[in-house]
């Protein structure tokens, strides 16, 4: 298939996939679809920092949680609309990401993962213990959903789905644009492959690492805000390490380092594990654990890599054909 035809096919497929929950508007289907899209944005934001730039974060749920609480608090205590709340979550989390990024500049590999893990735990502790602001262990509720939704339950769900889909797709598009169409993309990849070499080539590694932290944390926070307005309940457990593990599992499943891989991987894995709830509540996380193990060992490039491998095979076949002809 030629390039424009393929692009069109992908766009058509994406639209069909997005429209499916609107056509088949069973409440359960919509419920899963909305949450899957929130997780998809979260996974893509994790991938920008950890997969694409190689700065592995084990505490990304901390940013998600801060975003969710920011949305809930700003709407409940300050009376912000959900649009303002989401903007606040995006900006505040970007700022927090910048602040976490600064000290983390000195750390690499294992150490960075451990510090971010500690960061996530501290966020959870604060959420649990700062009762006056966060509602303590029981969390916050009664702050309302997205602003301006229709009152009819089905239409309300559909509208919420459209809002979440639009925002997470715009988020994905921004992340893809930054990594594919600006100079930041190659810089991120250079830092991932060899930080010292990147610096010696004149790439400002400090700036680009901080940029990755800020963007990644901001979009994780935005995903948290979407979660807060859709579920209408935030509690400390959304910032737990188990959530961070889940998002990493989704990214590994989709294929780390591609941005769109984790986005699709999260949608797929979330839908699969939620459907598994019919079998039993606890089994879905067993599946996530097993997926992480199997994919890391055997399919390290995730579902996205399967496409790449086919392309490689095709290139080899072409080369052989050329050799045979000459």
């Amino acid at each position: 298939m030629s390039r424009p035809v393929r692009t069109l096919a992908i766009i058509a497929l994406a639209f069909a996939g997005l429209a499916a929950p609107l056509v088949w508007s069973h409440p359960f289907v919509l419920h899963i679809a909305v949450q899957a899209l929130i997780w998809a944005l979260f996974a893509a934001s994790w991938d920008l920092l950890s997969g694409y730039t190689g700065q592995v974060s084990f505490g990304h749920a901390g940013f998600f949680s801060i975003g969710a609480y920011t949305a809930a608090i700003s709407t409940k205590l300050l009376g912000f609309s959900s649009w303002l709340g989401m903007t606040a979550a995006l900006l505040l989390c970007g700022l927090v990401g910048l602040c976490v990024g600064f000290p983390a500049l000195r750390l690499r590999g294992h150490y960075l993962a451990l510090v971010t893990l500690g960061f996530g735990e501290i966020v959870q502790l604060v959420a649990q213990n700062w009762g006056a602001l966060t509602g303590g262990p029981f969390g916050m509720h009664d702050y309302g959903t997205f602003t301006g939704l229709p009152s009819d339950p089905l239409a309300q769900r559909q509208a919420a789905y459209l809002i979440v889909a639009a925002i997470s797709l715009v988020g994905l598009a921004i992340l893809l644009y930054v990594t594919r169409r600006t100079t930041a993309g190659p810089a991120f990849r250079a830092i991932r492959e060899d930080q010292v070499l990147a610096a010696s080539l004149g790439i400002d590694t400090t700036f680009f690492k901080l940029l990755a932290f800020t963007l990644s944390a901001g979009f994780a926070g935005l995903a948290g805000a979407l979660y807060a307005y859709y579920i209408q309940l935030v509690s400390p457990t959304i910032g737990s390490s188990a959530q961070s593990a889940l998002v990493i599992g989704m990214a590994v499943f989709g294929g780390i380092g591609t941005i769109w891989g984790p986005f699709l991987g999260a949608i797929l894995l979330f839908s699969i594990t939620e459907s598994l709830r019919f079998i039993g509540v606890v089994y879905n996380l067993i599946v996530v654990g097993a997926v992480m193990i199997v994919f890391v060992i055997f399919i390290p490039r995730g579902l996205a890599g399967i496409r790449l491998r086919r392309r490689g095979r095709q290139q080899r076949a072409d080369r052989q054909a050329v050799d045979a002809a000459s």
Binding site: S50, G54, V56, F58, P103, R106, L107, G109, H110, Y111, A113, L114, V115, L117, G118, F119, E121, I122, L125, Q128, N129, S241, A242, A245, L246, I248, G249, V252, G280, V282, Y283, L285, I286, V288, G289, A290, V291, M292, I293, V296, I297, F298, P300
Partner: protein
């Protein structure tokens, strides 16, 4: 005030014994394989469940329960290297692993924790103390279980250090930790040493889980907070430094126990995480570590 401080000091010592067993195992694995075992806390939980099965279900004596806890964690730990770590190592070849081993053990952690949840349910299981009674000092009362923890932890850590120092296999482990290629060239089978090391480290976690089970309850996620605390301890003591891990365990446990005098107890857990972040930022090689390149 003085007596209060002494009381919390004793509490810290007991907790320190548990932390030390756990963190020394974690840092041993890191020192030899250069892998952080995120699933270490799940072996702690296995120890807890094993002693529960031994003492409550089969009504065995406590000593047998402790042995079962250690052996169960050891056996499961033995399977980790050949089944999970070796295939990834083999596939990676000479390429840098990056975060892959962390993700792998994180997956193992999720798998084990939720398998235990599926098998045993989420209830908090109570285990009777291994020995009853206690020591009545004039100002405080120390149950014999706590004394047992300190005694068993010191004895097994001493045994581990002796093993590493004088036993052939122990020396082989230290050799691999220093230089795997050189160790291999003098005929040490790397795969077997890696397998044994992971098994040993996990066995220590299982023993710790069995020892503390009567004080905490047993539930699937019992080890996870401890894992994160153990990261803090290993970093404070210098990654891969066994003696450092031992000292750091005692420091963190004592500070945590004493902190109750100064800050509300809900914030107790923040001490370990805060220490970890602070140490990494100020002195990433830890208190006793060598300067890092």
């Amino acid at each position: 005030m003085g007596e209060e401080i002494l009381e919390f000091l004793i509490l810290g010592l007991v907790l320190g014994g548990i932390y030390a067993l756990f963190a020394v195992g974690l840092t041993l694995i890191f020192g030899v394989l250069d892998i952080i075992n995120v699933a270490h806390g799940e072996f702690f939980a296995i120890g807890g469940y094993a002693i529960y099965i031994a003492m409550v279900v089969f009504k065995l004596p406590p000593a047998a329960g402790l042995v079962m806890a250690t052996v169960a964690a050891f056996l499961v730990g033995l399977a980790v290297y050949p089944l999970l770590l070796a295939p990834l190592k083999k596939r990676l070849g000479r390429r840098a692993p990056g975060p892959l081993f962390l993700v792998l053990t994180l997956g193992l952690s999720a798998l084990m924790q939720n398998s235990m949840l599926a098998a045993a349910g989420g209830e908090y299981l109570k285990v009777p103390p291994a020995i009853k009674g206690g020591l009545d000092l004039s100002f405080t009362y120390i149950s014999n279980q706590r004394l047992l923890i300190v005694a068993v932890a010191s004895l097994s850590l001493a045994a581990l250090f002796l093993f590493l120092r004088f036993h052939r296999q122990g020396m082989a482990i230290r050799a691999v930790a220093q230089n795997p290629a050189a160790a291999q060239s003098v005929g040490i089978p790397l795969g077997r040493i890696f397998t044994l090391t992971v098994g040993l480290g996990c066995a220590l976690a299982g023993l710790a889980g069995g020892l503390i089970a009567p004080l905490f309850s047993v539930y699937p996620a019992v080890g996870f907070t401890l894992t994160i605390k153990a990261f803090a301890i290993t970093i404070l003591g210098g990654m891969g430094n066994l003696v450092g891990a031992l000292v750091a365990s005692l420091i963190i446990a004592t500070v945590e126990a004493m902190s109750v005098l100064v800050i509300p107890s809900e914030w107790q857990n923040a001490i370990a995480f805060g220490t970890m972040i602070l140490v990494l930022l100020v002195r990433p090689s830890g208190l006793f570590g060598k300067k890092q390149p």
